[in-house]
Amino acid sequence: MKTIYLDNAATSYPKPSEMIEAMRIFQENIGANPGRSGHGRSIDAGRTLYETREALAKLFHIDDPLRVVLTKNSTEALNIALLGALRPGDHVITTGMEHNSVMRPLRHLESHGIELSVVSSSPQGELDPADLSKTFRKNTKMVVMTHASNVTGTIQPVAEVGRIVREKDGVMFCVDAAQTAGALPIDVEAMNIDLLAVTGHKSLFGPQGTGALFIREGLDKRIAPLMMGGTGSRSEFEMQPDFMPDKYESGTPNTPGYAGLCAGLNLIAKTSLEAIRQKEMSLTARFLDGLGQMRSHVAVFGPNNAARQTAVVSFNIQDVTPSDAALFFEEEYGILCRPGLHCAPSAHRNIGTFPQGTVRFSFGFYNTKQDVDDALTAVGRLAAR
């Protein structure tokens, strides 16, 4: 049976052939360790990383590519930001719609003397910035929030929160853009983002095992590295380098992966973010319209409005558990989706679907209208049983 891949919020599929080709070319023609030797292919490997930083910087309106730390995913990026910056006695604010990549480090920090405030969102998952602005304390050091929920797709008012945080002295604004990098415009200057965590393997069309963290100038002085080790720089010193990006990049990196990520980023620049967003929005709107016709049996969570969400739709069918639904979709229609809690128990509590969770269909740039129509047929058949 043909499969229809609707799990793009977990990782995008298929990947562009340019990405796969770039990884092959790196491994075949370069294949050296970046920054560890002075020979030409080591320099070319270093150039691969540099060009990836440049492409990321361009996409997110970052002036200096060396402010971009390459990580293995957004979880690592978020852990560097949270565990590196927060100290006992500090206060941190987050939202009720976070993924465990934010909540677990924060709960860990909470058990080590860091004060935590979790601001609830509406049942649709939307944060009211006014609620968040009431939670600041004298010792607030950071606001950390997702740009869009991985459960409901709800796009959060990041720019508004950025303006609020910018007025507070010494408070850092950290954004988890795992679901939005490559899907929605992100401008670290216009949005006042101090720390931006992204993953490479979702809408940036890179392979798994790639990600990045932007750190605003000056803030690296306040953020300790999670790992230390060889960087290829300042080898005569046994202390970790204190400059960007080496401070946070110890050990041989996933250079073939970043070669692929760079190709994915170049493809986004060529296609244009607007075209990608338009396509994903029209697929989401088509699916939401179709679900609307079944509203007596199907409950949709989140904004239920393609303009206010990413290409992620969470729903439940009356009297069918999410896991039974997912099994039916795969066995009967070859539809690959994700049921359950999506690593975000807090978000499910917020929208009232804890502990059973939801069925999540997440569309990507390579899905077609036909995929959406087939998905609607499958949901319709299960709902009518």
Binding site: P34, G38, H39, S233, S235, F243, D246
Partner: protein, 75 residues
């Protein structure tokens, strides 16, 4: 035979900085190349940017405000 053009090198904190400097210098039209750091200058395992000594002020000008730290040595 003409005498070889006197060369100089710029040393940076890291390969990332050297790569950035190379891009900036090339964009400014300066003939330059990344080479291993000569042993007498540093025990570091990295690379440095080699350029004609006559271009020193052009290099300094193009790198100012773009790269925080670098040192120049004539070869």
């Amino acid at each position: 035979m003409t005498a070889p053009t006197p060369q100089a090198v710029a040393l940076f904190h890291s390969v990332s900085h050297a790569l950035r400097a190379e891009k900036i210098a090339k964009a400014a039209g300066i003939a330059c190349r990344l080479i291993p750091v000569p042993r007498h200058l540093s025990s570091d395992c990295g690379v440095c940017l080699r350029f004609p000594l006559a271009e020193q002020s052009a290099i300094e000008q193009s790198l100012s405000n773009q790269i925080d730290y670098y040192e120049i040595f004539p070869l």
